[in-house]
Protein backbone atom coordinates (compact mmCIF):
# COMPACT_ATOMS: atom_id res chain seq x y z
CA UNK A 1 0.00 0.00 0.00
CA UNK A 2 1.25 3.52 -0.81
CA UNK A 3 2.44 5.70 2.12
CA UNK A 4 -0.59 7.98 1.81
CA UNK A 5 -2.85 4.98 2.19
CA UNK A 6 -1.55 3.79 5.60
CA UNK A 7 -4.17 2.25 7.83
CA UNK A 8 -4.56 1.01 11.37
CA UNK A 9 -6.25 -2.13 10.07
CA UNK A 10 -4.97 -5.10 12.05
CA UNK A 11 -3.42 -2.95 14.81
CA UNK A 12 -3.50 -4.49 18.29
CA UNK A 13 -2.01 -2.13 20.86
CA UNK A 14 -2.40 -4.71 23.66
CA UNK A 15 -3.76 -4.09 27.18
CA UNK A 16 -4.64 -0.42 27.67
CA UNK A 17 -4.65 1.93 30.66
CA UNK A 18 -4.88 5.70 31.20
CA UNK A 19 -3.42 7.80 28.42
CA UNK A 20 -2.80 4.83 26.12
CA UNK A 21 -6.46 3.85 26.43
CA UNK A 22 -7.61 7.40 25.70
CA UNK A 23 -5.34 7.54 22.63
CA UNK A 24 -6.55 4.18 21.33
CA UNK A 25 -10.16 5.32 21.78
CA UNK A 26 -9.45 8.47 19.74
CA UNK A 27 -7.89 6.39 16.99
CA UNK A 28 -10.81 3.96 17.05
CA UNK A 29 -13.23 6.89 16.81
CA UNK A 30 -11.40 8.12 13.72
CA UNK A 31 -11.19 4.63 12.22
CA UNK A 32 -13.69 3.78 9.46
CA UNK A 33 -13.88 0.08 10.19
CA UNK A 34 -15.06 -2.22 12.95
CA UNK A 35 -13.01 -2.66 16.10
CA UNK A 36 -13.08 -5.35 18.78
CA UNK A 37 -13.51 -3.98 22.28
CA UNK A 38 -12.38 -6.36 25.00
CA UNK A 39 -13.97 -5.73 28.38
CA UNK A 40 -12.27 -6.22 31.71
CA UNK A 41 -14.83 -8.94 32.50
CA UNK A 42 -13.51 -10.92 29.51
CA UNK A 43 -16.43 -10.18 27.17
CA UNK A 44 -15.86 -8.83 23.65
CA UNK A 45 -17.89 -6.64 21.32
CA UNK A 46 -17.15 -6.30 17.60
CA UNK A 47 -18.62 -3.15 16.12
CA UNK A 48 -18.29 0.35 14.78
CA UNK A 49 -17.16 2.84 17.43
CA UNK A 50 -18.97 6.02 16.45
CA UNK A 51 -18.71 8.20 19.53
CA UNK A 52 -16.77 8.80 22.72
CA UNK A 53 -16.72 11.36 25.49
CA UNK A 54 -13.53 11.53 27.49
CA UNK A 55 -14.77 14.59 29.39
CA UNK A 56 -17.99 13.07 30.71
CA UNK A 57 -18.31 12.37 34.44
CA UNK A 58 -17.95 8.71 33.48
CA UNK A 59 -16.00 8.68 30.19
CA UNK A 60 -17.58 6.31 27.67
CA UNK A 61 -17.51 4.99 24.10
CA UNK A 62 -20.52 4.13 21.95
CA UNK A 63 -20.65 1.38 19.35
CA UNK A 64 -23.05 -0.21 16.92
CA UNK A 65 -22.35 -3.93 17.27
CA UNK A 66 -21.78 -5.70 13.96
CA UNK A 67 -24.38 -8.25 15.11
CA UNK A 68 -27.04 -5.51 15.17
CA UNK A 69 -29.25 -3.85 17.76
CA UNK A 70 -29.27 -0.49 19.49
CA UNK A 71 -26.03 1.37 20.24
CA UNK A 72 -23.98 0.10 23.19
CA UNK A 73 -22.37 2.40 25.72
CA UNK A 74 -19.21 1.16 27.44
CA UNK A 75 -17.36 3.14 30.14
CA UNK A 76 -13.62 3.62 29.56
CA UNK A 77 -13.08 1.94 32.93
CA UNK A 78 -14.56 -1.32 31.59
CA UNK A 79 -12.25 -1.50 28.54
CA UNK A 80 -9.17 -3.71 28.67
CA UNK A 81 -8.17 -3.55 24.97
CA UNK A 82 -9.22 -2.30 21.54
CA UNK A 83 -8.16 -4.16 18.42
CA UNK A 84 -8.61 -2.76 14.90
CA UNK A 85 -10.03 -5.95 13.44
CA UNK A 86 -12.40 -4.75 10.71
CA UNK A 87 -11.55 -3.59 7.21
CA UNK A 88 -10.67 0.12 7.01
CA UNK A 89 -13.25 1.30 4.50
CA UNK A 90 -11.43 4.60 3.94
CA UNK A 91 -8.06 3.01 3.14
CA UNK A 92 -6.73 1.99 -0.25
CA UNK A 93 -9.28 4.32 -1.69
CA UNK A 94 -7.20 7.35 -2.60
CA UNK A 95 -7.81 9.64 -5.53
CA UNK A 96 -4.63 8.26 -7.12
CA UNK A 97 -5.99 4.72 -6.75
CA UNK A 98 -9.27 5.79 -8.29
CA UNK A 99 -7.45 7.40 -11.24
CA UNK A 100 -5.45 4.19 -11.75
CA UNK A 101 -8.59 2.04 -11.74
CA UNK A 102 -10.33 4.44 -14.10
CA UNK A 103 -7.45 4.36 -16.55
CA UNK A 104 -7.41 0.56 -16.34
CA UNK A 105 -11.17 0.44 -16.99
CA UNK A 106 -10.81 2.84 -19.91
CA UNK A 107 -8.12 0.69 -21.42
CA UNK A 108 -10.32 -2.38 -21.04
CA UNK A 109 -13.37 -0.93 -22.81
CA UNK A 110 -15.68 2.06 -23.33
CA UNK A 111 -17.67 1.75 -20.06
CA UNK A 112 -16.20 2.65 -16.69
CA UNK A 113 -17.59 2.22 -13.23
CA UNK A 114 -16.88 3.30 -9.69
Amino acid sequence: MAPDERTLEGWDPGPLEGGALAEAVERAFDYRGDVTVERRDGGEVVGYLFNRDADAATPFVQLFAASGGDPLTIPYADIRAIRFTGRDTAAGNSYAAWLRSREAAKAAGPARGA
Partner: protein, 340 residues
Amino acid sequence: MSVPLSQMWTVASYVLKQRLRGNSRYPLVLMLEPLFRCNLACAGCGKIQYPGHILRKHLSVEQCLAAVQECGAPMVSIPGGEPLMYPEIGHLVAELVARRKYVYLCTNAILLKEKLAEGLFTPSKYLSFSVHMDGLREEHDEAVCRDGVYDQAVEGIREALRRGFRVTTNSTLFDGASAIRMQMFFDEMMDLGVEGMMLSPGYSYSKAPDQEHFLRRQKTHELFSKMLSNPKKRWKFNQSPLFLQFLMGKWDFECTPWGNPTYNMFGWQRPCYLLQEGYAATFKELMETTRWEGYGHRSGNEKCKDCMVHCGYEPTAVNTTFTSWKGFKATVEATLTGRL
Protein backbone atom coordinates in the same frame (compact mmCIF):
# COMPACT_ATOMS: atom_id res chain seq x y z
CA MET B 1 -32.52 34.83 -7.24
CA SER B 2 -35.19 32.18 -7.35
CA VAL B 3 -36.26 31.43 -3.78
CA PRO B 4 -40.09 31.62 -3.74
CA LEU B 5 -41.61 34.52 -1.81
CA SER B 6 -43.44 32.25 0.64
CA GLN B 7 -40.17 30.53 1.52
CA MET B 8 -38.38 33.88 1.88
CA TRP B 9 -41.16 35.10 4.16
CA THR B 10 -41.00 31.93 6.29
CA VAL B 11 -37.24 32.26 6.70
CA ALA B 12 -37.37 36.02 7.32
CA SER B 13 -40.06 35.77 9.98
CA TYR B 14 -38.25 32.84 11.64
CA VAL B 15 -34.96 34.77 11.80
CA LEU B 16 -36.65 37.91 13.11
CA LYS B 17 -38.51 35.90 15.77
CA GLN B 18 -35.23 34.38 16.94
CA ARG B 19 -33.62 37.83 17.11
CA LEU B 20 -36.57 39.30 19.03
CA ARG B 21 -36.23 36.47 21.53
CA GLY B 22 -32.58 37.41 21.94
CA ASN B 23 -31.52 34.04 20.57
CA SER B 24 -28.19 34.55 18.81
CA ARG B 25 -27.63 30.86 17.99
CA TYR B 26 -30.41 29.20 16.07
CA PRO B 27 -30.58 26.61 13.28
CA LEU B 28 -31.72 27.54 9.79
CA VAL B 29 -31.57 24.23 7.93
CA LEU B 30 -31.59 20.78 9.50
CA MET B 31 -29.31 18.41 7.62
CA LEU B 32 -31.15 15.15 8.10
CA GLU B 33 -29.20 12.07 7.04
CA PRO B 34 -31.54 9.07 7.27
CA LEU B 35 -28.87 6.72 5.90
CA PHE B 36 -25.28 6.65 4.64
CA ARG B 37 -25.84 4.12 1.85
CA CYS B 38 -25.34 5.47 -1.67
CA ASN B 39 -25.44 4.15 -5.20
CA LEU B 40 -22.37 6.22 -6.12
CA ALA B 41 -18.87 6.46 -4.66
CA CYS B 42 -17.76 9.97 -5.59
CA ALA B 43 -14.10 10.87 -5.16
CA GLY B 44 -14.86 14.03 -3.15
CA CYS B 45 -17.32 12.43 -0.72
CA GLY B 46 -16.34 11.41 2.82
CA LYS B 47 -19.83 10.36 3.88
CA ILE B 48 -20.04 6.75 2.83
CA GLN B 49 -16.89 5.04 4.10
CA TYR B 50 -18.42 2.76 6.75
CA PRO B 51 -18.64 -0.98 7.42
CA GLY B 52 -21.48 -2.84 5.70
CA HIS B 53 -23.64 -3.16 8.81
CA ILE B 54 -23.63 0.64 9.23
CA LEU B 55 -24.47 1.21 5.57
CA ARG B 56 -27.42 -1.17 5.90
CA LYS B 57 -28.86 0.78 8.85
CA HIS B 58 -31.17 3.74 8.61
CA LEU B 59 -33.17 6.02 10.87
CA SER B 60 -36.89 5.38 11.37
CA VAL B 61 -39.35 8.03 10.22
CA GLU B 62 -40.22 8.58 13.89
CA GLN B 63 -36.58 9.30 14.72
CA CYS B 64 -36.38 11.74 11.80
CA LEU B 65 -39.54 13.57 12.82
CA ALA B 66 -38.44 13.77 16.45
CA ALA B 67 -35.19 15.39 15.28
CA VAL B 68 -37.09 17.86 13.09
CA GLN B 69 -39.35 18.78 16.00
CA GLU B 70 -36.45 19.10 18.42
CA CYS B 71 -34.41 21.28 16.07
CA GLY B 72 -37.24 23.57 14.93
CA ALA B 73 -35.49 24.82 11.76
CA PRO B 74 -37.87 25.99 9.01
CA MET B 75 -35.99 24.09 6.31
CA VAL B 76 -34.93 20.45 6.17
CA SER B 77 -32.30 19.23 3.77
CA ILE B 78 -32.17 15.46 3.26
CA PRO B 79 -28.74 14.43 2.02
CA GLY B 80 -27.12 11.12 2.84
CA GLY B 81 -26.14 8.71 1.39
CA GLU B 82 -28.68 8.73 -1.36
CA PRO B 83 -32.06 9.57 0.18
CA LEU B 84 -34.01 7.89 -2.64
CA MET B 85 -32.54 4.59 -1.35
CA TYR B 86 -34.21 5.22 2.04
CA PRO B 87 -37.18 2.83 2.10
CA GLU B 88 -39.45 5.34 3.90
CA ILE B 89 -38.54 8.40 1.87
CA GLY B 90 -42.08 8.98 0.51
CA HIS B 91 -43.59 8.75 3.99
CA LEU B 92 -40.90 10.97 5.53
CA VAL B 93 -41.30 13.70 2.91
CA ALA B 94 -45.10 13.63 3.23
CA GLU B 95 -44.82 14.07 7.00
CA LEU B 96 -42.37 16.97 6.64
CA VAL B 97 -44.56 18.70 4.06
CA ALA B 98 -47.56 18.25 6.37
CA ARG B 99 -45.50 20.09 9.02
CA ARG B 100 -44.87 22.91 6.50
CA LYS B 101 -41.13 22.37 6.45
CA TYR B 102 -39.36 23.42 3.26
CA VAL B 103 -37.69 20.20 2.17
CA TYR B 104 -34.66 19.91 -0.09
CA LEU B 105 -34.29 16.29 -1.09
CA CYS B 106 -30.65 16.12 -2.21
CA THR B 107 -30.32 13.36 -4.76
CA ASN B 108 -28.02 12.19 -7.51
CA ALA B 109 -31.30 11.51 -9.38
CA ILE B 110 -30.27 8.07 -10.60
CA LEU B 111 -33.47 6.67 -9.07
CA LEU B 112 -35.60 9.79 -9.47
CA LYS B 113 -37.56 8.77 -12.56
CA GLU B 114 -38.31 5.36 -11.07
CA LYS B 115 -39.44 6.76 -7.71
CA LEU B 116 -41.63 9.39 -9.36
CA ALA B 117 -43.28 6.68 -11.46
CA GLU B 118 -44.00 4.78 -8.24
CA GLY B 119 -45.98 7.80 -7.05
CA LEU B 120 -43.93 8.28 -3.88
CA PHE B 121 -44.15 12.06 -3.97
CA THR B 122 -46.77 14.77 -4.54
CA PRO B 123 -45.79 18.18 -5.92
CA SER B 124 -45.77 20.87 -3.26
CA LYS B 125 -44.26 24.30 -2.75
CA TYR B 126 -42.60 22.75 0.31
CA LEU B 127 -40.74 20.06 -1.65
CA SER B 128 -37.80 20.60 -3.95
CA PHE B 129 -35.62 17.94 -5.49
CA SER B 130 -32.10 19.29 -5.21
CA VAL B 131 -30.22 17.36 -7.86
CA HIS B 132 -26.48 16.91 -7.52
CA MET B 133 -24.87 18.29 -10.69
CA ASP B 134 -21.18 19.15 -10.58
CA GLY B 135 -21.02 20.67 -14.04
CA LEU B 136 -21.51 19.65 -17.64
CA ARG B 137 -21.60 15.97 -18.63
CA GLU B 138 -17.83 15.47 -18.70
CA GLU B 139 -17.14 17.23 -15.39
CA HIS B 140 -20.11 15.68 -13.60
CA ASP B 141 -19.40 12.11 -14.65
CA GLU B 142 -15.77 12.65 -13.67
CA ALA B 143 -16.79 13.99 -10.23
CA VAL B 144 -19.14 11.09 -9.51
CA CYS B 145 -16.68 8.56 -10.95
CA ARG B 146 -19.17 6.98 -13.33
CA ASP B 147 -20.14 7.61 -16.94
CA GLY B 148 -23.77 8.18 -17.79
CA VAL B 149 -24.87 9.70 -14.47
CA TYR B 150 -25.25 13.19 -15.93
CA ASP B 151 -27.68 11.89 -18.55
CA GLN B 152 -29.63 9.96 -15.92
CA ALA B 153 -29.86 13.07 -13.77
CA VAL B 154 -31.07 15.17 -16.69
CA GLU B 155 -33.72 12.56 -17.44
CA GLY B 156 -34.81 12.62 -13.79
CA ILE B 157 -34.97 16.42 -13.76
CA ARG B 158 -37.09 16.49 -16.93
CA GLU B 159 -39.50 13.95 -15.47
CA ALA B 160 -39.81 15.80 -12.15
CA LEU B 161 -40.45 19.09 -13.94
CA ARG B 162 -42.99 17.43 -16.23
CA ARG B 163 -44.86 16.23 -13.16
CA GLY B 164 -44.91 19.71 -11.64
CA PHE B 165 -42.23 19.37 -8.96
CA ARG B 166 -39.83 22.08 -7.88
CA VAL B 167 -36.34 21.16 -9.02
CA THR B 168 -33.08 22.85 -8.08
CA THR B 169 -29.50 21.75 -8.59
CA ASN B 170 -26.58 21.69 -6.19
CA SER B 171 -23.02 21.87 -7.47
CA THR B 172 -19.79 21.39 -5.59
CA LEU B 173 -16.80 23.06 -7.23
CA PHE B 174 -13.29 21.71 -6.92
CA ASP B 175 -9.88 23.02 -7.89
CA GLY B 176 -9.50 22.99 -11.65
CA ALA B 177 -13.14 23.91 -12.30
CA SER B 178 -13.46 26.09 -15.37
CA ALA B 179 -15.44 29.33 -15.03
CA ILE B 180 -16.43 29.24 -18.70
CA ARG B 181 -17.57 25.60 -18.53
CA MET B 182 -19.58 26.39 -15.40
CA GLN B 183 -21.24 29.31 -17.19
CA MET B 184 -22.17 26.91 -19.98
CA PHE B 185 -23.53 24.59 -17.30
CA PHE B 186 -25.69 27.42 -15.87
CA ASP B 187 -27.13 27.98 -19.36
CA GLU B 188 -27.83 24.28 -19.74
CA MET B 189 -29.63 24.05 -16.38
CA MET B 190 -31.74 27.11 -17.20
CA ASP B 191 -32.60 25.58 -20.59
CA LEU B 192 -33.73 22.45 -18.75
CA GLY B 193 -36.07 24.60 -16.68
CA VAL B 194 -34.77 24.14 -13.15
CA GLU B 195 -36.00 26.68 -10.62
CA GLY B 196 -32.57 27.64 -9.40
CA MET B 197 -29.01 26.49 -8.78
CA MET B 198 -26.98 26.17 -5.60
CA LEU B 199 -23.20 26.44 -5.64
CA SER B 200 -20.57 25.71 -3.05
CA PRO B 201 -16.84 25.09 -2.99
CA GLY B 202 -15.98 21.58 -1.82
CA TYR B 203 -14.62 20.70 1.58
CA SER B 204 -11.63 18.45 2.12
CA TYR B 205 -13.16 15.62 4.16
CA SER B 206 -10.39 13.74 5.92
CA LYS B 207 -11.96 10.48 4.71
CA ALA B 208 -12.60 11.56 1.13
CA PRO B 209 -10.45 9.81 -1.46
CA ASP B 210 -9.68 13.03 -3.32
CA GLN B 211 -7.63 15.34 -1.06
CA GLU B 212 -5.78 17.18 -3.82
CA HIS B 213 -8.52 19.03 -5.59
CA PHE B 214 -10.24 21.12 -2.94
CA LEU B 215 -10.29 24.87 -3.42
CA ARG B 216 -8.33 27.20 -1.17
CA ARG B 217 -9.75 30.62 -0.27
CA GLN B 218 -7.96 32.80 -2.81
CA LYS B 219 -8.67 30.37 -5.62
CA THR B 220 -12.30 30.25 -4.54
CA HIS B 221 -12.57 34.06 -4.79
CA GLU B 222 -10.95 34.01 -8.23
CA LEU B 223 -13.12 31.22 -9.60
CA PHE B 224 -16.42 32.60 -8.32
CA SER B 225 -15.53 36.14 -9.41
CA LYS B 226 -14.79 34.93 -12.92
CA MET B 227 -17.98 32.88 -12.99
CA LEU B 228 -20.40 35.37 -11.47
CA SER B 229 -19.08 38.92 -11.94
CA ASN B 230 -21.18 39.40 -15.05
CA PRO B 231 -24.10 37.02 -14.53
CA LYS B 232 -26.74 36.52 -17.19
CA LYS B 233 -30.21 37.67 -16.13
CA ARG B 234 -31.59 34.21 -16.85
CA TRP B 235 -29.31 32.47 -14.33
CA LYS B 236 -31.29 31.82 -11.16
CA PHE B 237 -29.62 30.85 -7.91
CA ASN B 238 -31.58 29.21 -5.12
CA GLN B 239 -29.44 30.64 -2.34
CA SER B 240 -28.51 33.85 -0.62
CA PRO B 241 -26.89 36.38 -3.00
CA LEU B 242 -24.69 37.47 -0.10
CA PHE B 243 -23.27 33.95 0.13
CA LEU B 244 -22.35 34.08 -3.56
CA GLN B 245 -20.81 37.53 -3.02
CA PHE B 246 -18.86 36.07 -0.10
CA LEU B 247 -17.48 33.37 -2.40
CA MET B 248 -16.49 36.16 -4.81
CA GLY B 249 -14.54 37.88 -1.99
CA LYS B 250 -16.96 40.77 -1.47
CA TRP B 251 -17.86 39.95 2.15
CA ASP B 252 -15.73 38.80 5.05
CA PHE B 253 -18.04 36.42 6.87
CA GLU B 254 -17.37 34.15 9.81
CA CYS B 255 -18.75 30.62 9.94
CA THR B 256 -22.05 29.84 11.66
CA PRO B 257 -21.44 26.17 12.46
CA TRP B 258 -24.76 25.72 14.29
CA GLY B 259 -26.71 27.14 11.31
CA ASN B 260 -27.10 23.79 9.55
CA PRO B 261 -27.02 21.15 12.31
CA THR B 262 -26.72 17.52 11.26
CA TYR B 263 -28.65 14.56 12.61
CA ASN B 264 -27.99 10.96 11.64
CA MET B 265 -27.97 7.47 13.17
CA PHE B 266 -25.04 8.46 15.41
CA GLY B 267 -26.89 11.45 16.91
CA TRP B 268 -26.36 15.22 16.60
CA GLN B 269 -23.02 15.70 14.89
CA ARG B 270 -20.44 18.06 16.45
CA PRO B 271 -19.73 20.70 15.37
CA CYS B 272 -21.15 20.81 11.83
CA TYR B 273 -22.13 18.92 8.70
CA LEU B 274 -18.50 18.58 7.60
CA LEU B 275 -16.50 17.93 10.73
CA GLN B 276 -17.18 14.80 12.72
CA GLU B 277 -15.76 15.34 16.18
CA GLY B 278 -18.38 13.51 18.20
CA TYR B 279 -22.11 13.27 18.76
CA ALA B 280 -24.60 14.73 21.21
CA ALA B 281 -27.68 12.79 22.28
CA THR B 282 -30.00 15.80 21.94
CA PHE B 283 -30.10 19.03 19.97
CA LYS B 284 -30.09 20.97 23.25
CA GLU B 285 -26.92 19.17 24.32
CA LEU B 286 -25.33 19.92 20.94
CA MET B 287 -26.09 23.63 21.25
CA GLU B 288 -25.14 23.96 24.91
CA THR B 289 -22.02 21.81 25.16
CA THR B 290 -20.21 22.32 21.85
CA ARG B 291 -17.22 24.65 22.13
CA TRP B 292 -18.33 26.83 19.20
CA GLU B 293 -15.48 29.30 19.68
CA GLY B 294 -13.09 26.58 18.51
CA TYR B 295 -14.51 26.61 14.97
CA GLY B 296 -14.64 29.01 12.06
CA HIS B 297 -12.15 30.82 9.86
CA ARG B 298 -10.86 33.13 12.60
CA SER B 299 -10.68 30.45 15.30
CA GLY B 300 -7.25 29.27 14.17
CA ASN B 301 -8.63 25.75 13.73
CA GLU B 302 -6.68 24.26 10.80
CA LYS B 303 -9.74 22.27 9.69
CA CYS B 304 -11.71 25.49 9.28
CA LYS B 305 -8.99 27.62 7.69
CA ASP B 306 -9.95 27.21 4.04
CA CYS B 307 -13.56 26.19 4.45
CA MET B 308 -16.12 28.40 2.67
CA VAL B 309 -18.82 25.79 2.38
CA HIS B 310 -22.49 26.73 2.24
CA CYS B 311 -23.48 24.88 5.42
CA GLY B 312 -21.36 27.23 7.54
CA TYR B 313 -21.47 30.46 5.59
CA GLU B 314 -24.93 30.58 4.03
CA PRO B 315 -26.52 30.90 7.49
CA THR B 316 -24.17 33.85 8.12
CA ALA B 317 -25.26 35.41 4.84
CA VAL B 318 -28.96 34.97 5.67
CA ASN B 319 -28.43 36.37 9.13
CA THR B 320 -26.60 39.39 7.67
CA THR B 321 -29.52 40.04 5.33
CA PHE B 322 -32.01 40.23 8.16
CA THR B 323 -29.89 41.87 10.84
CA SER B 324 -28.09 44.70 9.02
CA TRP B 325 -29.25 47.44 6.66
CA LYS B 326 -26.14 46.93 4.54
CA GLY B 327 -26.91 43.23 4.16
CA PHE B 328 -30.60 43.85 3.51
CA LYS B 329 -29.84 46.52 0.89
CA ALA B 330 -27.28 44.30 -0.88
CA THR B 331 -29.72 41.38 -0.92
CA VAL B 332 -32.58 43.48 -2.30
CA GLU B 333 -30.30 44.98 -4.97
CA ALA B 334 -29.00 41.59 -6.07
CA THR B 335 -32.51 40.11 -6.07
CA LEU B 336 -33.97 42.93 -8.15
CA THR B 337 -31.11 43.43 -10.60
CA GLY B 338 -29.69 39.92 -10.80
CA ARG B 339 -26.22 41.40 -10.35
CA LEU B 340 -23.82 40.10 -7.74
